[in-house]
């Protein structure tokens, strides 16, 4: 009995440092944010403690916030779709390649060695009026005046895809790598074409990886504010930009808290739905 009790305690003892850290560095700060969301900002920028529903009423009823939230979810969805479209063939190729997998995976990880902000800003040198692409097109005589390629929604999506693609590829790769290749051969031996065996066997079996990558890409895309700030135009703001603006520009921490909790709630709901259908185990597998 004593041994059973000891064994039952062991996981908790091992988890204790991590749980303590998460409690103090994540749960407690989030609770502070929850409390803050019920306060008010005074005219000079200081906070007025209390229990006011003003910020929540504004966030929920004002169509401005709703529209920006929908726009954010739309951009995140488009980004996720493009990441899946570009990431699947790449992941499949790496998983099925012979001999050079380690090198290909290292190449995939290479972008992480450079700061995300620098990677995002690099597009200015590529797509700018005097950037690499325009210079090339001008020198080839394809265009006479530089094209205005930057600072629109398309460049925001491009920057996000650039940032998030490795997350998608890694998750799909883990999933495809775990599929027994002989299953495809078996399908072919029973009369299916390569394409049919992929559609009927490989794709369904790799869906959990695709979903895990999709979830990661979506959540990270929906929470970004640097990319629209650097590559977006005047009307390409995302929801995280509203949080930044409320807290930094307007010094309205209570409203910023309410806004950030809305974003957490929406993305949390998405994670909940994912967990309901696929389970979090696949996500952890993809991250490992």
């Amino acid at each position: 009995m004593a041994r059973e009790t000891r064994e039952a305690r062991q996981p908790w003892l091992l988890l204790a440092p991590a749980l303590t850290t998460i409690f103090f560095l994540l749960v407690v700060p989030v609770l502070f944010v929850v409390v803050y969301s019920f306060w008010l900002r005074t005219a000079n920028g200081s906070d007025q403690p209390g229990f006011y529903m003003t910020n929540w009423a504004e966030v929920v009823t004002d169509p401005f916030y709703r529209d920006i939230l929908f726009n954010t979810l739309k951009i995140a969805a488009v980004t996720t779709f493009l990441c899946a479209l570009l990431g699947y063939p790449t992941a499949y190729f790496i998983a099925r390649s012979r001999g050079n997998k380690a090198m290909l995976l290292m190449l995939l990880m290479l972008p992480f060695w450079i700061s995300y902000i620098i990677r995002t800003m690099s597009w200015i040198n590529i797509l700018g009026v005097s950037g690499a692409l325009n210079s090339l097109l001008l020198s080839l005589g394809v265009i006479e005046t530089p094209l205005q390629l930057l600072y629109n929604e398309a460049t925001v999506v491009l920057g996000l895809v650039h940032f998030l693609l490795p997350f998608m590829v890694l998750n799909i790769y883990v999933s495809v790598e775990g599929i027994d290749e002989t299953l495809e051969d078996a399908a072919c031996s029973l009369g299916s074409t390569r394409w049919q065996s992929f559609l009927e066997v490989t794709l369904p079996l790799s869906l959990p990886g695709l979903a895990a990558g999709g979830l990661l890409c979506f959540v990270l895309a929906a929470g970004t504010y640097i990319t629209p700030l650097v590559l977006g135009g005047p009307t390409d703001a995302m929801f995280a930009n509203l949080v930044f603006e409320a807290i930094i520009t307007q010094l309205d921490w209570p409203l910023g808290s309410a806004l950030s909790l809305v974003l957490v709630a929406v993305l949390g709901a998405l994670v909940f739905i994912y967990n309901r259908f696929f389970g979090m185990a696949q996500l952890m597998k993809g991250l490992s």
Binding site: R41, N44, S46, V129, Q148, N241, I248, T249, L251
Partner: protein, 379 residues
């Protein structure tokens, strides 16, 4: 007697039974503690007090401060200056609000309105002016306006001034066209997609007031102002958020015209870019100060402020960052370059510049910054 002999004697006493094990270990621990607090480690810990944190605008401005003021100051006094940067005054005040007293010390603030906001938040300190004798060389008008906010005392010293005028690419916009159109050039349909704008609500409202023929310090028709801001937004390529971004957009010819900070435009001109600069009538004048936050090491801060107001440091920084210093030209010889800088006033009266009235702007800050945030995003 050296420490190793002391240790040997203690060890002998322990081995011979004169000292029990607990006392022996206790004495070893005490010796370690004494060593720790009396050696170079302690010196390092104590020297941390001789450090002042300074936050400024980054880019060429920070480079000028580092090269011409902080490094010579550290060399002369041994007080280290740790310099950080911020993109806007709003960003900095938010950081300060989240910090502990003393974490941030000196900031290169722009405008009296920011100074007043810090005062309202209870973040001002009181400078001992006896420790800043160089303050007597500063243009009196610049000092008095700060005294007015903090009941005759000072929590900052004025350091430089400049304007937010209009920068334009001369390949695409002539000087004559600029003179003719003034602030309205920012609403010119012909330049759609080639216009920039600072994402600062005050600047946007100030220029919208000029575009709608109103007094920027006393606008009466806010609907017209929001309308002008919307028109500008629809013609805009991008709102810029920092001096570095402003310079990049102009230098790369992503934009042809924008309102811009005088010193940054001068820096572009020095780099050989054919960028013109114009202050329209009632253009946005501002004065910057070196503001000392409550809870800072006052003596070190005052020492740094006095050093920075010395004519050598002040002129060198001014030449580096391209903004005229706050030193009175009637009292100090400012050399050859400074009289050529945009916004420079040789009389020292600054009568040609229009500054923002802090009461007016701070009183409307909450509502206007929020409204601008919405319009900026397409509403």
């Amino acid at each position: 007697m050296d420490n190793s002999k002391r240790y040997d004697r203690l060890l002998d006493r322990y081995k011979s039974g004169d000292v029990d094990r607990r006392s022996f270990l206790g004495l070893i621990g005490a010796a370690g503690l004494a060593y720790g607090v009396s050696t170079p480690f302690a010196k390092n810990a104590l020297s941390a007090v001789k450090e002042v944190r300074f936050d400024g605008w980054g880019g060429v401005v920070s480079e000028a401060f580092r090269k011409h003021a902080f490094d010579p100051f550290t060399k002369a006094t041994g007080v280290n200056v740790v310099d950080g940067t911020f993109g806007s005054g709003d960003e900095y005040i938010s950081r300060v609000k989240a910090s502990q007293n003393g974490e941030y010390n000196i900031a290169h603030l722009s405008g009296v309105f920011d100074y007043a906001r810090y005062h309202e938040l209870g973040l001002t300190s009181t400078l001992n002016e006896d420790n800043i004798p160089n303050l007597k060389n500063v243009i009196p008008k610049l000092v008095d306006v700060f005294r007015g906010v903090t009941d005759g005392k000072l929590s900052c010293v004025p350091f430089d001034y400049g304007t937010t005028g209009i920068a334009y690419n001369r390949k695409h916009i002539s000087d004559e066209e600029m003179q003719e159109k003034g602030a309205s050039i920012l609403l010119d349909e012909r330049l759609k997609g080639k216009i920039g704008g600072w994402s600062d609500w005050r600047t946007r409202i100030w220029y919208a007031a000029l575009q709608t023929g109103q007094d920027p310090n006393n606008a009466t028709d806010m609907d017209a102002i929001w309308g002008a801001i919307r028109t500008h937004r629809d013609l805009l390529l991008k709102y810029w958020g920092s001096g570095a971004e402003l310079m990049s957009l102009l230098a790369e010819e992503e934009i042809y015209v924008t309102e811009a900070w005088s010193g940054r435009v001068f820096a572009l001109q020095e780099q050989g870019h054919d960028i013109g600069y114009m202050d329209p009538p009632n253009g946005f004048g501002w004065q910057e100060c070196l503001f000392v936050l409550k809870g800072s090491p006052m003596e070190e801060c005052e020492q740094l402020l006095n050093f920075m107001l010395s004519s050598e440091a002040s002129i060198a920084v001014a030449e580096g960052q391209n903004y005229p210093p706050a030193l009175d030209p009637a009292k100090v010889d400012l050399g050859k370059k400074i009289p050529t800088l945009p916004a420079f006033d040789p009389t020292g009266t600054l009568s040609g510049l229009t500054f923002a009235k802090s009461d007016y702007w701070n009183g409307n800050q909450q509502a206007w910054s929020k409204e601008f945030g919405r319009i900026q995003k397409g509403y």
